[in-house]
Subunit: 270 residues, 3 copies
């Protein structure tokens, strides 16, 4: 499994996909750097008159609703619609889903364009599935990842999306298939936008890898492993951020294989 995942990581570097991001103001710099570090080329653009051209020249699209306004919402809808029309893969990061009525309304407009991937914390995934009235504490998660698996399966059935529930354990869900990733470090929750960066990196992987479940798994595995390795050599959240970008850029197959902790829904550690 580590071998196959590493192959995907290399495939992304070779393909060097152009990834179009419509994301929030807080994380634009970090997510662009994360994409560069894994070998992709980021484009950040949201002007309405150029959105369709941008989607056309890129290999995938990332939509992150962290900071919204009328203009950006329209940008997101235009881009998601175009991606759907061109059959380009796109990733949705439903930041703060359930926190306000407005966020839910925006998400209800985006989902019909059927994102190839949805990545959020358990609370956001639960909220998105409208299965319960899960209250989100800002962009943090209150609910455990496991609780959200049913919600993820529901979303998969509705929209065909591979769903990634991120948390202490990241769970990738599609149909009956579930993959569990046990990497990462608690210090990562003290750096803003690492979830958003993971989403952006996922955008690079779905552009370059055919099987979306494997693409999301490889992206999240790379991110979690690098975060864990970076945390070991960091003094706190400030140095973690730099060390993570370094590691995403220079990780070796040996380091990756020695650190990866992955299991499937058969609960067999691979």
């Amino acid at each position: 499994m580590a071998k196959n995942t590493w192959k995907h990581i290399q495939a992304v570097r070779q393909a060097a996909p152009l990834v179009h991001n419509i994301t929030n103001f807080v994380v634009m710099n970090n997510t662009a750097n994360a994409l560069l570090a894994v070998g992709a080329s980021p484009i950040m653009a949201h002007a309405h008159p150029e959105l369709e051209e941008m989607v056309s020249i890129c290999q995938s699209l990332v939509v992150n609703i962290g900071t919204l306004d009328d203009y950006f919402v329209k940008s997101m809808l235009l881009a998601a619609k175009k991606a759907r029309e061109l059959n380009k893969p796109w990733v949705l990061d439903p930041v703060g889903a359930g926190a306000t009525a407005y966020r839910n309304q925006v998400l209800s407009l985006l989902l019909p364009y059927r994102p190839g991937v949805i990545r959020g914390n358990a609370s956001e995934i639960l909220s998105l599935a409208q299965m319960k009235g899960a209250a989100t504490k800002g962009v943090d998660s209150r609910a455990g990842s496991n609780e959200a698996i049913e919600a993820a399966q529901y979303l998969h059935e509705q929209y065909g999306s591979v769903v990634c529930i991120s948390g202490a354990t990241d769970i990738i869900v599609s149909k009956a298939r579930q993959t569990f990733l046990h990497n990462g470090d608690a210090l990562m929750t003290k750096v803003t936008g690492l979830g958003c960066s993971a989403t952006a990196v996922t955008g690079a992987f779905i552009a370059a890898i055919e099987d979306p479940h494997e693409a999301v798994t490889a992206a999240m595995a790379l991110f979690g492993v690098c975060g864990e390795l970076a945390a070991r050599q960091s003094n706190g959240p400030g140095t973690l951020q730099s060390a993570l970008l370094d590691k995403l850029h220079n990780i070796t197959e040996d380091e990756f294989a020695a650190t990866l902790k992955i299991s499937s829904n058969a609960q067999v550690s691979l």
Copy 2:
């Protein structure tokens, strides 16, 4: 005094307040990271339809006018109004006050919502008080902190705000009470947005600590002490930024007590 201040620092970590920020594009990432590092949860959101809900679910609000446009100004006014209605504490950072007529106009609309705290450099505080025609050199300060004490007292009388004049010495002013903080390092002026980060951190402290003068003092003391400690182990402004976030996260009581330089208006070093 150090003991009491440290108690407040711990109180913020325990309360883990949700702090709503409407701030400028330059510093959104850094201020979110500073909030996480001191144990708070940042929310950055400015969409009009969700602002009142956001203010409602948060424990405090930070408004920073660094970068403005029509949409953001309306966001700031909506949020400040709601915070006032709900009696939630909010902090105003009047970046560039006095630099343009527009900034002064925006500030004149925000001040009647009576911010619990105003934090700016001496030039901004002077400008805000309209006591003299102080020209500001961008977001830097020309006037010394001491010159602005009278202006701060005037603002306190008008709006009930605790006023923090930041500079080589940070001065916290409310009524007859003045606290002086002598920490920090000149290298901090070579990193963009550290003043904005101090403001954001202040937002976390007024959410968790009852006495606003003590809250502002504790926030600024923590920030100045951590900046000073971080500067000692930095090679320049780039590494300072990372080291500061690390230190905000992992400072110990001993380090804090050994570094803090604080005095009151009785000029008694405590």
Copy 3:
């Protein structure tokens, strides 16, 4: 040559020019920090009602079209027009020129205000000159720097701008004068916005140095040398970013002179 260039670097620190930036969301923080590190004072502001005042109080203007929308485009046009009227030097960074029709349209509106400097990669400069139908791969360059010299000369004739074609070799072009800078490091292409930071730094240099060709050369030389020195002590793109800001702040004349690789169109290594 190194001596003269170093003199310019010192002149910027002494002048401490106020540089007004209308730039993209991705790089605002980094470019502000780069300006502070070379001794300038950054202002980021785009609100229409204050733009003319901002241009008036600043010594130069930087316009970077990385992320666009209707509001920002109007901000850019208002500011460039005012800079032209006041005869203040301004720099244009035509990010993604040629990528979309909209970008080209925005650029065609900006160019008549005659930027003192245009800095872009070869593909952007080619596109700007409309000499060939060069397709740009996002903000990266496909065309080599040398191919774009003719395009740069054309732009110089049309608008009077000193043109900097950045790449593995940076080429500064004005009339018959060409200067080649052979510093930098491939790792710099893995950090987002370093080109934008170089543009911002150029904005500081044209504010403080009379000869614009020498100003651009000194700015790009400093940036390339510091990037090269920073890359040597970095583990990857994350630490490079911090090390670069440190080096821009604390580089010595000896380090600079020992590292600078510069030649003129006479191909004489100086």
